[in-house]
């Protein structure tokens, strides 16, 4: 096989499902049966995976650096919360559809304006958008409950799956199912020609302009898709926790998704999975052992990753696999 042929095969088959890709799902299902006492944390991990996945689409694939992604998470969460609190709309699936639509709208409008800029300007403007929404939610306290928060009521999913605040088994299955659906969407987007053009924009935006690709339109499109998925994550968060506060629109939440991608690796689809699991488990276990000093441990891990694994943990795996393959060939 010539190099050209090998490259052609690689391109033609790169979207195919590899056996290893089943691993996170098998683990997630196994965790449901093996660790019934950890399902509350597990559900939070699944939501964080979904949120980080949406960020990966814009950050990892399209190269849009944003610190304001919680704007969409929060919009989704408040969409579900406000429907439940003020319109007695407790149906979960339609609630999530509304959440996705609301977040997509915010993404479309803000993306249309903001994506003219890039780099630090874009970073600051995304953050400013989020802060504006945060302040809006704070001001409209009668609607949103403000700092004190808003209780959210949810009917059983499809009339079958009841959410028990004690066991979290219903919440876990619901979150897992949704994550799987959303993952299929993201995977589809990433491996489509549209996804390839995003990578092109990330790698060399001038060249993409030169070949006549509608750069800004593609960026706004992916930003909107990503916002919708973040909105689903936020809506899911509101439904599962049955309570939301201004915290859903906070910088901490936006930064957490970023940290997850740094830990797990960005632009790699599964980076969000590895990063979110590692982040939450570390945080949970460290905070239990050292309630006052857990942040030190987390910070240390971040420094080590930033120093020795710039591509995150999945990047580290990929490098190791590559080295192994080369040795096997030679």
């Amino acid at each position: 096989m010539t190099v050209a042929e090998a490259a052609a095969t690689a391109l033609a088959t790169r979207h195919r499902v590899r056996p290893l890709e089943a691993l996170p799902w098998v683990l997630a299902v196994a965790a449901f049966f093996a660790l019934p006492e950890y399902l509350a944390v597990g559900t939070q991990i699944l939501i964080l995976v979904l949120f980080a996945l949406s960020l990966d689409l814009v950050l990892g694939y399209a190269g849009i650096v944003t610190l304001g992604h919680a704007a969409f998470f929060g919009t989704g969460a408040y969409a579900v919360g406000l429907l439940s609190a003020h319109l007695d709309w407790h149906e979960p699936i339609t609630g999530l559809i509304v959440a996705a639509a609301a977040a997509a709208l915010v993404g479309l409008v803000s993306g249309w304006v903001l994506l003219r800029t890039h780099g630090l300007t874009l970073l600051m403007l995304t953050m400013a958008t989020m802060t504006l929404l945060h302040e809006l939610a704070n001001e409209q306290e009668n609607l949103t409950g403000g700092f004190d928060g808003l209780p959210v009521e949810i009917d059983p999913v499809l009339g079958l799956l009841r959410f028990s605040p004690l066991t979290y088994s219903g919440q876990y299955l619901y979150a897992l199912g949704l994550l799987f659906l959303m993952f299929l969407v993201v995977r589809r987007v990433v491996y489509s020609p549209f996804g390839h053009s995003l990578t092109g924009i990330r790698e060399n935006i001038l060249r993409m302009h030169a070949v006549g690709a509608p750069v800004r339109q593609r960026l706004v499109t992916v930003y909107t898709i990503s916002a919708a998925i973040a909105g689903v994550a936020g809506g899911l968060f509101a439904q599962v926790n049955a309570y939301i506060t201004l915290d859903v629109l906070s910088l901490e939440r936006a930064a957490t998704a970023l940290i997850v991608l740094i830990l797990g690796g960005h632009g790699r689809l599964y980076g969000a999975f590895v990063g979110a699991a590692l982040y939450m488990i570390l945080e949970d276990e460290l905070a239990k052992e050292f309630p006052e000093f857990w942040q030190f441990g987390l910070g240390l891990v971040l420094v080590l990753i930033a120093l020795f694994a710039r591509e995150g943990l999945t990047g580290l795996f990929a490098q190791a696999a590559e080295r192994f393959r080369k040795r096997a060939r030679s």
Partner: protein, 399 residues
Amino acid sequence: MRISRLVAAAAVAAMFSAGAAYAKTVKVGIVLPYTGGGADFAKQIEKGMKLYLSQNKDKLGGHEVELVTRDSKRPGGDIAKVAVQELITREKVDILGGFVYSPNAMSVAPLVTEAKVPMVIMNAGTSFIPAMSPYYARVSFTMWQSGYHMGKYAAEKLGYKTAMAGFTNYPPGKDSAAAFKRGFEDAGGKVQELIPMGGPREVPDFTPFFQKVKDAKPNALYMFVPAGSHASAVVKTYNDLGMRGAGIALIGPGDITQDTKLQGMGDGAQGLVTVHHYSADYDTPENKAFVKAWKAAYGADSTPDFMGVQGYDGMAAIVDVINKLNGEIDADKAMDILKGWKFASPRGPIMIDPQTRDIVQNEYVHKVTKQGDRLMIEVVATIPQVKDPCKELKVGKCK
């Protein structure tokens, strides 16, 4: 003779075995913000709890208490909820306690109700929280207790006719300012304006706000800001603008003269009048013993503040429940004990109201004075056994 000795031996044996068989370890789950902006509060509450425990081992009736602590981190509700879910299902705690931030105490309500675990709230002061679960009891305060009575006292006893209120723009601030307005106007005064002055995260520049107040010339300015650096900035701006000279008195809830921060405010704090439920300077036998024990345990430089005493009293309630139920914690029986529970606290006599499960306590009018080179809180008046005015007057969400 022989028979009676036999009976005595049997009795001793029975007592011994009873003690051995029934010594239980009661697990108490504690949820506090050990990291982040609330870490100081968590420290105070934990020190208060541990002080009570170390002093009152004998009240446990041979049982043990194990504290299982969790960090609630931020006031977002979600982290506290996971922590409580896990404390209940995995650690199988018998009682819950702590809770500094109101949103965290609110978000766990359905969980606590479903799992039937009694919970003693040691800070979280939003008025309607105890109504959210039948297993909640609160030993801390509500913003209305200090705000409402500061308003009444300012109009009735200090003779102020007009006032303005400044507050940090988040629920405790809004509550406190609204309470002050109601109290002041119920007693015949007039509040000209309520002015939001920035958020809880960063200390704003108070100068433009205070200048506006100075121009309007009310008799008094009521200020609610979070304890700590906010309060120091308020006192500093008040003095820099010469507002005292302009005839405007600075008053507020005791949060702005918190014991642990008072000495750092400098001489400008002298003459401040506040209303609150605790200060370490109270001259009562209970408080003197408490402060002495605190300093013995945590060092002469350490001072309890209202958070510390809330932790102390909260643990007193928990220990009393364990004692009366002999280590077998049943949620409904525990709540029956907590309803109407009374305690001679360092802050004075306190009770948990049987109807609302909220705290009933004395509110004290504080005046900051100087003795030697130390700023002191002097109590100039006592308002006995104050129930939450928000619930008494049925304001807004309070029922």
